[in-house]
Amino acid sequence: MGFVTVEHVSQKYGKRPILDNVSLEVAEGAFISIVGASGCGKSTFLRLLLDQERPTRGEIRVDGIPLQGEPNRSRGIVFQRYSTFPHMTVRDNLVAAEGLGANLLGILPRARRQSARARANAALERIGLAHVADQYPATLSGGMQQRLAIAQALAAKPRILLLDEPFGALDPGTRERMHDFLQDLRAETNMTVFMVTHDLSEAFKLGDRVLAFDKVRWDPQFPDAYGATITYDFDARDGGIPYQILKEDTYVLDPAGS
């Protein structure tokens, strides 16, 4: 059985179906890239995994336990923007990753503050932000802000990391460096990662599996009639070659007859 299990999940906003009968098994430590056209439910799927929303039907289990109804420390998130706290310095953003959950008030006890600051400094050194530790995130470039956001999410040591188009607003060079950064981090932890992206090459480069979301039924008179589901599930190790296995219930002709 997989680490993350998604069973027959459907999501509707009002009468409008977004996701339709999505099922998925993911092993611990896998990197899952999620691609698809705009408005086909990729981000909705991520919100369901985060437990920011409840599915109208179906169930999601992590390590055999159903989601509890709200986000928690087991699943970290990095959004395209607004992921860091603008009123805290770069270092305090990392300290807050430990402090916010330390107690009811979200304030780290003095005894632990020193060690948390030391860990934050070490992390900043690693991600190359030590020289801006006392600045506010708004003064940083987009790539630096995303590095900080990822480091902040990782400082809480989540078992699952969710990335919602994390590099979408970055220029190609910065994006390349962020890929290396993310791959380094992955090599050190056994985190399960879900990444939504619009960039196919990025999806295949980073992911172990690439899931494509699309609508399998389409009503030209009423485009909103049907929701999307996973239409392809590529094995993307070694850049997806030669492991491209068509999912059994795909609606595309299966030339290999497998």
């Binding site: 986000p71 959004f79 607004y82 603008p86 506010y136 999410a153």
Partner: protein, 269 residues
């Protein structure tokens, strides 16, 4: 070149800034001159020289009966009422603004109520305040607080609700409780907005203060203005009005400075 693209140089901009003030003074002096040419005993527009004399007398000469300098006593009384009233309103506005902005339960329970209450004209309930709280300090402070609290609550709850949901969710994934999110994520980001909202509500606060003092008081800037009105002492009234204007302007300026000093990150964003 379009007018929207024409920017004045620095000296010209400074000239334009000073111009309306100078114009106002010139018009006043001319008006005063004209009236005094027709009637040397005119009290309506005292000449600028008399205004300066009156101001000098007001700030330095003690009252013959009490021995106190009334000008400073009035200023102290009015500022105390203003500070208590606005301070109370700011605390209430901050607390309820955060509650309504963050908690769906509080939003459902209070948002419409505050929206309706904020439509009650505060001056219309001033008699009720006098009846309930008496004619002492409490009713004046209560009028200021009641007058500006609904605005502060509405503004701050809207600003709290406008915080990017990404931040609130991020805080949850870092394990923060509701209280921790309120104190460590929402509150620090709302404080600059609070200062902004207080700056905007200082105008109405002065209005309510002077109205309350005019009707029932024993001292205060508003009280004095309405007292000397009986003797048509325009020189005193104008001095007090100028003084109130100056205080209000300095308060506003200080709050703006304070906000920039305390919340440098708000400037960077």
């Amino acid at each position: 070149m379009r007018w929207i693209n024409k920017t004045p140089g620095r000296p010209f901009a400074l000239f334009l800034t000073v111009l309306p003030f100078v114009l106002l003074m010139i018009i006043y002096a001319m008006g005063s001159d004209a009236r005094r040419a027709a009637n040397p005993a005119d009290k309506l527009l005292p000449p600028p020289s008399q205004l300066v004399d009156t101001a000098a007398r007001l700030v330095s000469e003690p009252d013959r009966r009490s021995g106190e300098i009334l000008f400073w006593k009035d200023t102290a009384s009015s500022l105390r009422r203003l500070a208590i009233g606005v301070g109370l309103a700011a605390s209430l506005g901050l607390a309820f603004g955060l509650l309504i902005g963050l908690l769906p339960v509080a939003h459902a329970g209070l948002n419409s109520f505050v929206a309706v209450i904020s439509m009650v004209p505060p001056l219309a309930i001033l008699p009720i305040l006098f009846i309930v709280f008496g004619l002492g300090e409490l009713s004046k402070v209560a009028l200021i607080t009641i007058g500006i609290t609904p605005f502060l609550i509405r503004d701050l709850s809207a600003r709290t609700a406008e915080l990017p949901s990404e931040q609130i969710i991020k805080a949850q994934t870092l394990g923060a409780s509701s209280l921790a999110i309120a104190l460590r994520v929402a509150l620090p980001q709302i404080l600059p907005r609070l200062i902004q909202a207080v700056r905007l509500s200082l105008g109405p606060a002065w209005l309510f203060l002077i109205a309350a003092e005019a009707i029932a008081s024993e001292d205060g800037l508003g009280y004095r203005i309405f007292l000397v009105r009986r003797y048509l002492a325009m020189d005193v009234i104008l001095t007090y009005v100028a003084w109130i204007t100056l205080i209000a302007f300095v308060l506003d300026w200080c709050l703006a400075r304070l906000s920039r000093r305390l919340f440098p990150w708000a400037e960077a964003a």
